[in-house]
């Protein structure tokens, strides 16, 4: 079904004239909207990265590189950042990209109606200096700001206003929900929500294209077995994800292959540690053992992460020692060891804490959120049983899971965290600081871990410009949450994509599928 193409950059310029080479791919979730400012979710942002662009973008190695801005430099001492815009960039409808569009996109993306407004919390003001220069002023020194805006996508002011979509409208939808006008390598050709979305290359793109696609069709397939069948039977060219257990089969089969990588997401166990009593099983109402750091440490020692990775993850994941993977900024190299698997040690710790006879408690787990999440929780239940503590597993779909966690309905729970900024600061801000709704801190710290020193260090980390000093503070935070066993990080979730053999692509650790790096041979 695939004609052979010479994989030079030339072919794709001519390809439009020849018979169209359609690239078909499938993923689990349909992007909810085509509006880059309406919804802050990975399926939407990942998809729209092909259509819209930001001032900066992430390369194949996740490093930030110039996109619609050619360069940027700090203003004064931590007052903000100046961005010099690229000249000659056109939107898909032919309009020019200028500083006005940046200001407009800031207003749109930081409006009440936008989900992405939290990205702009540090921003005090945006000033247009001239057509191709923009100053973004921050209320406090913010060294990582350019790193944090790779998904802030630029929309044309004229197009948005002409189609009365100057603000996103997630609830009722508007023109931008179904239509798109970016500056990216691909244009939105056809959009049928929940069914198919078709993209076509943009001839007037400012950058040199690496791909040779003439048309790309995305179909959401939510049943994993159906997706694998579609790949194996050649009905699609690429699927994301391949269920881990099917990876070997896809790899071995003639004509298909697997592309593996390590995702940024760390899978961990969390504890309800701020309350005095257990909530579940026959022991409900009894004193909560997880308040004791020794019990949490015993859990860490009881989990045989290697066995989980070997069987359930089939060798395609890496163990984790911290809340981020080693590839992330701010990872503490000095603290990279995770507690060794040690049944005797775990039992000794439990005995020391006064739980030598064990206890029972409730473990909450999602069953459709992370790769093989339910199987992992089952394995955890088995391993904890070996050291004498009995977990009662309650696995549920994710739409029921978050409300349960927010209602504090757990003794222990499974959580995966992917740092949106690729920085260790991100999970610390959301998971480790004491919950404080006013300061927007600790908003996913369901267990209520609290440490005054961490709370004190975080603002200092956020405004520290010097990398060495910043890392020293990160190291201190890491050693605190590690020695307190605030969480039990288990492993970094793998990325497993499947494709036909004639497809060449690049897998980025944030699990975004970037079409401009795809070649059909």
């Amino acid at each position: 079904m695939f004609k052979l193409f010479a994989s030079t950059a030339l072919t794709l310029c001519l390809a439009g004239a020849a018979s169209a080479e359609t690239f078909k791919w499938a993923g689990t979730t349909d992007p909810q909207t085509m509006d880059p400012h309406a919804v802050n979710s990975a399926p939407v942002l990942g998809f729209l990265n092909n259509v819209y662009e930001g001032l900066v973008r992430r390369g194949k190695d996740m490093a930030v590189e110039p996109a619609l801005a050619t360069s940027w430099e700090p203003i004064g001492v931590g007052e903000g950042w100046r961005f010099n815009l690229r000249k000659g960039v056109k939107f898909h409808d032919g309009a020019d990209f200028t500083a006005e569009d940046v200001l407009f996109s800031y207003q749109r993306a930081s409006s009440e109606a936008s989900d992405t407004r939290s990205w702009f919390a540090p921003v005090a003001d945006v000033k247009v200096v001239d057509d191709y220069t923009v100053d973004i002023l921050t209320s406090a020194p913010n060294p990582i700001f350019p790193d944090s805006i790779a998904n802030w996508m630029m929309m044309d002011k004229g197009w948005a206003e002409a189609n009365s979509t100057a603000l996103p409208d997630k609830e009722n939808g508007n023109y931008a929900t179904l239509n798109a006008n970016g500056t990216g390598a691909f244009m939105l050709k056809d959009r049928q929500p929940g069914l198919t979305t078709t993209l076509a290359p943009f001839d007037g793109w400012w950058d040199e294209a690496e791909h040779n696609i003439t048309e790309a069709v995305f179909t959401p397939i939510d049943n994993p077995a159906t997706a694998v069948a579609a790949l194996l039977s050649g009905d699609v060219d690429m699927i994301n994800p391949v269920p881990i257990q099917d990876a070997a089969r896809v790899d071995e089969r003639d004509g298909t292959k697997v592309i593996r990588g390590i995702e940024a997401r760390v899978i961990m166990l969390g504890f309800g540690q701020d309350r005095d009593e257990l909530k579940y099983t026959a022991m409900a109402g009894q004193p909560n053992p997880f308040k004791d750091a020794r019990v949490r440490e015993a859990v860490a020692k009881a989990i045989n992460v290697d066995a989980i990775l070997k069987t359930i993850m089939r060798g395609s994941a890496e163990p984790a020692s911290q809340l981020v993977s080693p590839a992330m900024r701010g990872f503490s190299d000095a603290l990279a060891a995770r507690p060794a698997y040690d049944v005797a040690g775990a039992k000794a710790l439990l005995a020391e804490a006064g739980y030598g006879d064990g206890f029972s408690f409730g473990l909450k787990c999602p069953n459709n959120r992370y790769l093989n999440d339910e199987a992992v929780c089952q394995a955890v239940t088995g391993m904890l049983a070996q050291v004498g503590i009995k977990a009662e597993l309650d696995a549920m779909p994710v739409q029921n899971y978050w409300p349960e966690l927010r209602a504090d309905n757990f003794d222990m729970y499974l959580l995966g965290w992917s740092p949106g900024t690729f920085d260790h600061e991100h999970p610390v801000r959301f998971l480790v600081t004491t919950p404080n709704p006013e300061k927007k801190l600790g908003s996913w710290n369901f267990g209520g871990f609290s440490n005054a020193r961490v709370d004190e260090l975080l603002p200092m980390v956020q405004s520290e410009i010097d990398d060495g000093k910043r890392q020293a503070m990160m190291d201190e935070i890491t050693s605190i949450y590690q020695s307190e066993h605030a969480y039990v990080p288990m492993y970094v979730q793998p990325l497993v994509w499947g494709a036909q053999d004639n497809i060449e692509l690049t897998q980025r650790p944030d699990n975004f599928f970037i079409l401009r790096w795809v070649t059909v041979n």
Binding site: P224, A225, V228, A229, L232, P243, Q245, D246, A248, R249, K279, Y280, T281, A282, A284, N304, A307, I308, K310, T311, I312, G362, N367, N368, E374, A375, Q378, A379, T381, G382, M383, L384, A385, Q386, K390, A391, E392, L393, D394, A395, P397, N409
Partner: protein
């Protein structure tokens, strides 16, 4: 049927009489009926005596060794001296033992759901058919509502409500009872309709009229006179419903509202196993599926035979 209305007869003689009856004759002369009832009986016995037959208790997390996972049938695990007849699943559970224990749950859910559907259906059907009028209208409209809701939704509703009202410490047993309620509740309508229809016919017959003239109350008439005479279609439906209930439990499990993976039913085992169909660990799917097939097929065949045997027109 000649046997069931005789309530004074002793069980033993009832069995003997059943053997000699027309139905008994038909049974003795139907190889399908004999084979399928033997298979069904064996499977039910295997489930009942699962703790004696199984080599491990798959519901006890402490007995599992994750490193035994994915051992093929008739082979030794990589890291332990244990042998596994039908292999192990992703958690290192012995598939053979897990099937035995899973069948217990499936059969328990199946029997309990059918019993529930039958009790509700017969009661409402009798009332509806005998009294007619508003009672009939209300019951039949409720039946319409019931038919409208796919059982998955009924299950989710009951699950949600049950979660809200059960004390936290009993929640782990919840799924099984939710399944029974959900399947039982989506099942009663056909019992009610059949019983209602039969009651409509029976209530105008002379023996009922006579009983009524003798001043017997509605309740005795319904349960002593009418019920025994509508039992044969109910029995057929009950048999087929049992097979349907076991299948429905599997389907609900596929949609995410089944028995928990730590205490899997046959349906949950199939749901888990289908994830390994492409990856080559066929035994995790095939053995539970074959067991489910054998169970449902033998019950269905029995139902089929029973339908023909109880239909005097076809003799």
């Amino acid at each position: 049927m000649t046997t069931s209305s005789e309530q004074t007869a002793k069980p033993k003689s009832m069995l003997a009489r059943a053997w000699d009856s027309d139905v008994g004759y038909s049974f003795r002369h139907s190889p399908v009926a004999i084979i399928s009832s033997t298979v069904a009986l064996l499977l039910i016995l295997a489930a009942v005596f699962a703790p004696l037959l199984a080599v491990m208790n798959p519901f006890d997390p402490a007995s599992l060794n994750l490193l035994n996972g994915f051992t093929p049938p008739l082979s030794q695990a990589e890291f332990s001296p244990d042998w596994f007849l039908l292999g192990t699943d992703d958690q290192g559970r012995d598939v053979y033992s897990t099937i035995l224990y899973g069948m217990r749950i499936s059969l328990f859910v199946g029997f309990a759901a059918v019993a529930l559907g039958m009790v509700i259906g017969i009661t409402l059907g009798l009332i509806s058919g005998y009294f007619g009028g508003w009672a009939d209208a209300i019951i039949m409209r409720i039946a319409d509502v019931q038919l409208t809701f796919p059982s998955i939704l009924v299950a989710m509703l009951i699950f949600g409500v049950a979660k809200g009202v059960t004390p936290v410490e009993y929640r782990d047993q919840l799924a099984i009872w939710v399944l029974i309620l959900a399947i039982g509740l989506s099942d009663w309508v056909q019992f009610a309709r059949v019983v209602r229809g039969a009651t409509l016919v029976e209530k105008n017959k002379e023996y009922v009229q006579a009983a009524r003239l003798m001043g017997r109350g509605a309740l005795p008439i319904l349960f002593r006179h009418i019920l025994p005479n509508v039992m044969s279609p109910v029995l057929v439906i009950a048999t087929i419903s049992l097979a349907l209930a076991i299948i429905a439990e599997a389907t609900l499990s596929f949609l995410g509202v089944g028995a928990p993976a730590t205490q899997p039913s046959l349906g949950t085992l199939i749901r888990i196993g289908q994830g390994f169909l492409f990856s080559g660990e066929w035994w995790i799917l095939v053995f539970p599926a074959v067991t489910l097939l054998a169970l449902a097929l033998s019950v269905n065949l029995l139902g089929d035979w029973l339908r023909d045997a109880l239909n005097p027109k076809l003799r």
